[in-house]
Amino acid sequence: MTAPVSAIDGCGAPDQAAPLPASVDLAKETVLAGVVRGGAGEPVPGAYVRLLDATGEFTAEVVTSATGQFRFFAAPGSWTLRALSRAGNGEVQVSAARGLNEVGIAVAD
């Protein structure tokens, strides 16, 4: 399965539940991906996850899939992931390297 062409061309979020498109080269891309979980460890779908750069500035935002998944294409360095949801908010700091960086975000009221 690959992401629809429109999702690559535009600024909207590709399907967060989809596996990485075959065109994504993990030798070049820095991917931050993971799951947002609530207080009991349950995945939180429909959470708004934003990627903030090292200065705290907004870089991108996606909505988690039915299984709570999110994914960003960034660059090596320090990032903050912040989630807003009806189940509460949460954030986590990440030091990302090239390739796939798996990150979990816990949210609570």
């Binding site: 999702a7 535009g10 600024c11 909207g12 590709p14 500035e57 935002e61 960034a74 660059a75």
Partner: protein, 283 residues
């Protein structure tokens, strides 16, 4: 203009779901959001399928816009209330179209789909049943649309505002970070463009900051009120958000959106490009 005439709260929207003469319009790139649940009664516009020409690189022309709104059942006299995902980027982009084609009464829902969802307001999967209309669009108002030559001419003479993220401005990223980074265009920004990311104009729930906060933001960035302004981003939707802030909320007179934006400018042969965090100078 002013905030009250162009921006409504989610609360106002929910209270006016059944008010005759008001049409709610969800605008997204990914219309699966609409399909899984939308504001009851809202019609949908797909920013690419509905709003872009299928062949040429341009958006729909006057006749195509007329046909689109006629088919979706929008009347010239309707109040069009727009909202969407991505912090209203594409809703602001559609708002700009409605203004470009002469629709006077258009508004955005503050916070868009995100605020609506976080508030737990009702969503419906029922499709609206609106009778076709005979919508008439005006000739495009090019006072709010900038083309590439005007952007080149604006270097060092007008306000240029780059509303992408700081890393895109500096050339460290080529696209928003939820998209793969391999792109054809050169990284960087238009020399002399100020970096004022669109996100500085919004709160994290997607609502716009107050007029006082917004005025302070652009003043601190060095925007010269005496000059005309052109906003751009990568494909023109985030800069629609900033265009909305400057012209519709703050009432600046001469503000244009450069919808060709970086995907066009960064691909042009022989034009000046600045890299790094500073605006750079006119060549």
């Amino acid at each position: 203009m002013g905030r009250e005439s162009v921006l409504v709260s989610a609360d106002w929207a929910e209270k006016n779901l059944d008010t005759p003469g008001i049409v709610f319009v969800e605008v997204d790139e990914d219309t699966s959001a609409y399909d899984t649940g939308h504001i009851p009664g809202a019609i949908k516009l797909d920013w690419k399928l509905d709003l872009q020409d299928p062949v040429r690189r341009d958006f729909v022309n006057r006749e195509q816009f007329q046909a689109l709104l006629s088919a979706r059942g929008v009347r010239n006299e309707d109040t069009v209330v727009l909202y969407g995902g991505n912090n209203n980027w594409f809703a602001a982009y559609a708002y700009w179209y409605f203004k470009l084609y002469g629709h006077d009464d258009a508004k955005l829902i503050d916070g868009g789909r995100k605020r609506w969802e976080l508030d737990g307001r009702p969503l419906s999967t029922d499709l609206p049943d609106r009778a076709p209309t005979n919508y008439r669009a005006a000739a495009p108002d090019l006072a709010i649309r900038a083309f590439r030559d005007e952007v080149l001419g604006a270097i060092g003479t007008k306000n240029l505002i780059d509303v992408r993220s700081p890393d895109e401005y500096a050339g460290r990223l080529l696209a928003p970070a939820h998209l793969p980074q391999e792109q054809a265009q050169r990284p960087g920004h238009v020399p002399t463009a100020l970096s004022v990311p669109w996100s500085k104009a919004a709160n994290e729930d997607g609502t716009f900051k107050s007029d006082d906060e917004l005025r302070a933001l652009y003043a601190a960035a060095g925007l010269d009120n005496a000059k005309a302004t052109i906003a751009y981003c990568r494909i023109g939707e985030r800069s629609s958000h900033t265009w909305f802030v400057l012209r519709e909320l703050l009432g600046f007179g001469d503000v244009k959106n450069y919808d060709g934006s970086w995907t066009e400018y960064g691909s042009l042969v022989g034009v000046p490009v600045a890299v790094g965090d500073e605006p750079g100078s006119a060549a």
